[in-house]
Subunit: 575 residues, 2 copies
């Protein structure tokens, strides 16, 4: 017909944005909306175990399904507030997550009865106030006349600004009918054009600097290259300019780590020495989508003066000391490519260290951190989605080159533990959508405890990640930072290999669990083609020493120790 319900209007917009799956839980105030979701032929309802996990899943989904968004549906108060941390994390890390909340009817919002899930004091706006802190755009549907435009506004902001948006769906409005016609015009999710005059000026400035530097420049790719959708533009720029390229931890996999002029990860004093030398001695640094957080910069140890730095961001550009507001990289980069490709000949002379991490020879059977990461590095395949939890895993994976088309997923700025379990669910669903067969998770025993039940949803949705659980008897990363021998860094040891079957799987049939206590055991497993096929969900418990960390974490911990015994990290940092 000519009209459709507001619920369906919203769902059609999501389909246009390539959303296949919605994450969340039912609740009294969203059940009406959920009827439309369940009945929609193109949207699958994930039905998560709890709302925090669901928000993590939406986040992981959005990261892997670039260009699309993650969608989370919760219920008023109890549901939405359970997801606060997950949404805040997506805000912090520039991930477009749409948080839909089923809320009381428009009448109830006026009369304010003491409904369940309210604070009991008549404040119906408290959750919205809290949510605003972590949303780039937010609102509530008011009536059917304005609802479609409001939906479009919020969706557009979510995509263009690349951060969470919050939309309240009153129970009565989801059924209201609105004209279908508006759907014929797709949302305009292009970032705004740059002012041509300023843009031309900026291009001149940058070219001039590169020339003055005798083309001795390096590129550092960072988080927002991926998150603000300029992977392709950056790749063109890199390949045509032939400049050496490195990545910050949050920019890992922004360009293929097998690319010949890619030198690995730059992370201040924590970098491998050869990388540090190259980057810090370059006359000019072109940073693309940079996020200068503590863990992303080796505790703020970039040794690069501002007058040697150019920063391209989604909505501004910095050239040395000058900021050009409104000059965004999406449109700037192609023009920069045209300009700088002229320097290709000189640029291609600049040498780039090889990014390789050989497996060390160790003469014992202990699964050490030093040995583990290069070893699993060899297990990775083209197109793998590799998810690394905050802890020894995120530090360990950084040092390992990933194969072509691999996607690296980690939460280096926000660093909420347990996040990867939900994120892996979302990432695996997205990976399936876009034809990436394997999702591989590295998660600490401590972190897994926060969100473990989502293993159940993975099994229900039929995704088949490989999950490596690092059993090192607790919060090892924290032990390195403070309280090595403290009880508060211990955890209860679980029966890790019975998790999958407890949460609904049939061991040996629908799922498979393993323990590897030795290098040999792990080698055998990784070499087993059946295992590598990842045709069912698999969990591998790795027995590892309690006090052992990857190189990068050891250095980070030393840096932290130097600054302050008590204040673990970043104490002397400056904005």
């Amino acid at each position: 017909g000519d009209s459709l319900s507001i619920a369906d209007y919203l769902l059609e917009r999501l389909v246009q944005l390539n959303v296949s799956t919605m994450f969340g839980l039912p609740g009294d105030f969203n059940l009406g909306f959920l009827d439309y979701v369940e009945d929609h032929p193109k949207i699958e309802w994930a039905g998560n175990c709890n709302e925090l996990n669901a928000s993590y899943a939406a986040d992981g989904y959005a990261r892997v399904k670039e260009g699309s968004i993650g969608v989370l549906l919760t219920t008023f108060g109890v549901g939405e507030l359970s997801a606060t941390n997950g949404v805040a994390g997506a805000f912090s890390e520039h991930v477009p997550v749409l948080h839909l909340v089923g809320v009381p009817s428009t009448t109830q919002q006026k009369t304010k009865p003491m409904l369940h899930h309210t604070l009991g004091d008549g404040r119906f706006d408290a959750y919205h106030v809290a949510a605003q802190q972590f949303a780039i755009s937010h609102g509530s549907l008011q009536d059917k006349a304005t609802a479609p435009a409001e939906i479009d506004r919020i969706l557009t902001d979510c995509v263009v600004l690349g951060r969470p948006a919050y939309l309240m769906l009153p129970t009565d409005l989801v059924h209201e009918q609105v004209p279908r016609k508006r759907l014929l015009t797709p949302l305009n999710v292009e970032p705004p054009q740059n002012d041509p005059e300023i843009e031309a000026y900026v291009l001149d400035e940058i070219s001039k600097l590169v020339e003055e530097a005798n083309h001795d420049a390096v590129i550092i790719l960072d988080a927002c290259t991926i998150r603000h959708g300029v992977r392709k533009e950056a790749k063109d720029f890199i390949e045509r300019s032939k400049l050496p390229v490195y990545a910050a931890p949050m920019g890992k996999s922004a360009i293929s780590e097998t690319y010949e002029r890619y030198g690995g990860i730059y992370v201040g004093t924590i970098s491998r020495p050869e990388v540090r030398e190259k980057v810090e001695n370059a006359k000019l640094i072109i940073s693309i989508g940079g996020v200068r957080s503590d863990f992303n910069t080796g505790n703020f140890t970039y040794q690069i003066p501002i007058n040697r730095t150019i920063e391209l961001h989604s909505d501004h550009t910095k050239v040395q000391y000058a900021t050009y507001q409104g000059i965004g990289m999406k449109h700037l980069l192609p023009k920069l490519t045209d300009r700088l490709s002229a320097f290709e000949a000189t640029a291609s002379q600049l040498s780039v260290p090889k990014f390789i991490t050989p497996i060390p020879q160790e003469d014992d059977e202990v699964i050490s951190q030093n040995w583990l990461w290069p070893r699993v590095g060899q297990f990775f395949q083209k197109g793998d989605v590799v998810v690394a939890e905050t802890g020894t895993s995120s530090f360990g994976t950084i040092d390992i080159p990933l194969p072509e088309d691999a996607v690296f997923v980690s939460q280096i700025l926000w660093g909420s533990i347990g996040w990867t379990v939900g994120a892996t669910l979302g990432a695996a669903v997205a990976a399936r959508d876009i034809g990436k067969p394997r999702t591989i998770l590295f998660v600490g025993d401590g972190s897994l405890q926060l969100t473990v039940q989502e293993l159940s949803v993975m099994q229900r949705l039929g995704v088949t990640p490989i999950i490596f659980v690092l059993n090192n008897s607790g919060y090892t990363i924290e032990r390195y930072l403070h309280g090595e021998k403290r009880k508060y860094n211990d955890i209860t040891n679980w029966n890790w290999t019975s998790l999958l079957s407890t949460f609904g799987g049939v061991e040996g049939k629908t799922c498979q669990s393993y323990t590897a206590k030795t290098k040999t055991e792990l080698n055998n497993l990784l070499d087993d083609p059946e295992f590598a096929k990842a045709s069912k969900i698999q969990l591998v418990e790795l027995i590892m020493p309690r006090h052992d960390a990857p190189r990068a974490l050891k250095v980070q911990a030393e840096l932290s120790g130097k600054t302050n015994k008590y204040v673990a990290i970043g104490v002397e940092a400056s904005a």
Copy 2:
């Protein structure tokens, strides 16, 4: 010495408030503080699996350990925001939970470096702004000169106002030394005195009304009787006035349900008919600590005109249409007792229906909702702590009288599912502290999925609750409200009886799991003295029909259906 650290100052205050256990998780910004916690001889660190569960535990602890508070410790951003829903629930339900958050140093709060766990945009106050929505009192320590007074202010508000308070602990300040002397003066946690003139006037007004009603009055006890610490005052009032007494669902167990002049639960049209008749025909209702939320009033179906109502609250009194701000029940009640005990002779003539729920004769073996609740009612013992999850459990337990000294714990206003699992942990720890040997949980299969990992912490802390898991294949309460056959109300079936061993127990030794598929099986189990002793943690999976509900839920669902097919509950309610 004469001085102690700010951390220890705070801990000593907590000890004075009778706090034995602190809930939460470590994180970079609270590790320094945690050293003091771990070293403190009188405070145990729970070390929860995640922060939401920890906040639930603090809530459950505070409910059972009346007069004390629940304490939650989290880390900046990622930790604290994970607990938002739990703290908001404590706010809604008037539970004193102190939320301590380890935050960046006072220097960092000024220089605002891009630390991990920040939003990346320099806003260091966003979490505080969000938290304010759900705290009755909040602040951050600023320096050592003002810290002790600030701690005292926030603690006092938490106890006196009976709601959550939020306190930020900058990493650098916890070590600062402050004078010990201030600790010699205990916190004044008495509610303020009432203005004597107004109070006398209110007493006259109430006495007059009771006389005019020919002493035909009934008392309804509600949530705040328990939460605002007037259990004893209310008991005196009830026993000396001899007036009939009932309880709202949230007031259940405010007075012993074995008390001879107690008639059971009044919940509007959902009440048992004999209770409804008595309450609604009384000439006067004296409501103590009332919370008029939808589920607590049978969907706002109190049939009691305002001109027959007296309401006593923690900080005001209502007599018919008049509100007396500042006249609180703690000090009013004893005086009212003196006045109204004069009417004892007439009042004791008023008849009260017996609160009994016989086990129905059913000639099959199905564990029906109708049969289950009276049956477990017989299993209860003096002093049991009975925790009921939102769902069929909370509706089912309401109708069952509890033995003397039993404590009923449920979240009828906030209704966040999964809450009971954390709350049971906290409740069981508190119960152990105060010498109540058994804590018994009823939780739905759907709800348990949200917070299941806390079974691990129960085992680590050595508490031994009995956990009944109602396996009815999903969200039955929701099915009654909307979407009976919908897939979104289904859940994944878990291997429930392997949960305890998966999460660290040794089945048959440290823990024991059972499945009861029939009445006979459950009868046998409940009659087994070994089981009833609860000397280890026990989990009982109850196989129950997918679509079956206790009487009260069926009526509630009908009421909701009448008002609106889509808007599940309370649509026509008025504030």
